[in-house]
Symmetry: C2
Subunit: 272 residues, 2 copies
Amino acid sequence: MSHLTTVRIAGATRAGRVDGDEIVLLNAPDVGAVLRTGEATESGERVAFDEADLAPLVAHPGKIICVGVNYLDHIAEMGRERPDFPTYFGKYREALVGARDDLILPDPSVSTQIDWEAELAIVIGRTVRNVSTSAAIDAVAGYTVINDGTVRDWQRRTTQFLAGKTFEGLSPLGPVLVGTDELGDGSGLEIRCEVNGVTKQLSSTSELCFTVADIVADLSTILTLEPGDVIATGTPSGVGAARNPPEWLADGSVLRCSIEGIGATENRCRLP
Amino acid sequence: MSHLTTVRIAGATRAGRVDGDEIVLLNAPDVGAVLRTGEATESGERVAFDEADLAPLVAHPGKIICVGVNYLDHIAEMGRERPDFPTYFGKYREALVGARDDLILPDPSVSTQIDWEAELAIVIGRTVRNVSTSAAIDAVAGYTVINDGTVRDWQRRTTQFLAGKTFEGLSPLGPVLVGTDELGDGSGLEIRCEVNGVTKQLSSTSELCFTVADIVADLSTILTLEPGDVIATGTPSGVGAARNPPEWLADGSVLRCSIEGIGATENRCRLP
């Protein structure tokens, strides 16, 4: 599968196929629409990849499900035990921004504890329910990068993480979708998070406690997964909250999350 | 505002306005679409309310957010402390069914701990962000009934409730939307849950720790609320898990959730 992306152009979003250093625009509003319809014709229009105004890779995912406590190193730093089951929490599409957008931080009176969490994101390609682990990868279209943008004090206000995980505009998703034909089961990929050029997280997707196949199979026991659904698979060690002293994103911080074979999101933080 | 509903007819869904014992069909696919566009013309077609095949009141809500531990009596029975902040968790639209649909229980090998949670559901009517508590009710279109269908052992597998809260097809939403012109701030309404004709939950929405206005204002600090978004406000005491011995919904159980001034969802449970 070609690498797919979603760009903003002429006041709307458009799906595109990456062709060298250009993007060939497709006759579909976003990658989610391409996956739902299974195909998209080419429009003939091209834009330069490096200059493209990237939108969230999937503009309107039917659902975004996040997995927590899923890297052994992150489990240790957060003081948790190795889990028996995957931990799931929600995120809504208002949290998403493009791979190069500014991250508009909450007003400091709301929170200053803005944390990073670089993650491998699964994008579903086929409708499935009750799929077995061995068949689960067939339901995956491919992978992209997400920052599971976290407002740490709001995450910790109650027992449930959702409030701190779905703040508006803190979760870049992109830059491209790379298929399972290239990345297989999603294991063995270096994952890195840099803040202002300093590496804060560095691990491998082989460190996942629950693999991509485990997660897709387990979630499909709960509900139907649909093309365009996004699943964030958890983050490795090195988040700001676990540092001594804690570190947070602030006005002017540049956050870069990258995964081998996919690319990077790179976003500048600024105050409202 | 008239009472609005969503029915299935001729292989699609249609919004409708309740007119006595009939529903006047509107030229809109569901109540969510009516709220998003702000109006809908009447088609002239009518169906009997009692015989209508009710769909989930909002077919494709942009988000469904649930509030937990929000009735003082339920907080006591679950052994929790009175909270300082509202507890939020997610639910996805695959969980929704119509107010009269069968609830297809998970296969017993997956879980037999199927619990009820009758709740007042807020339906958002206006796009808002950072709204004050005093202005929050202006963003509410009205109210309906939801069963926050819960698979209790899956809810308790990890620290995060989501897995047990978004099982497919266990959360009826309806039967009608009743506006704030009738129900105001949503307080003072009797809420009841019956299983096989026996009352299991009976309380008043005045027992909410965090009121409708509190919840809408607080959520709007996190992200934009949009017309058609659904917020389940929490459940009173009397859930099956807190009974001694615990009680669960099973094949043939009839679950009825009702709220004064709105109406009732009534669903028969059956095995797949």
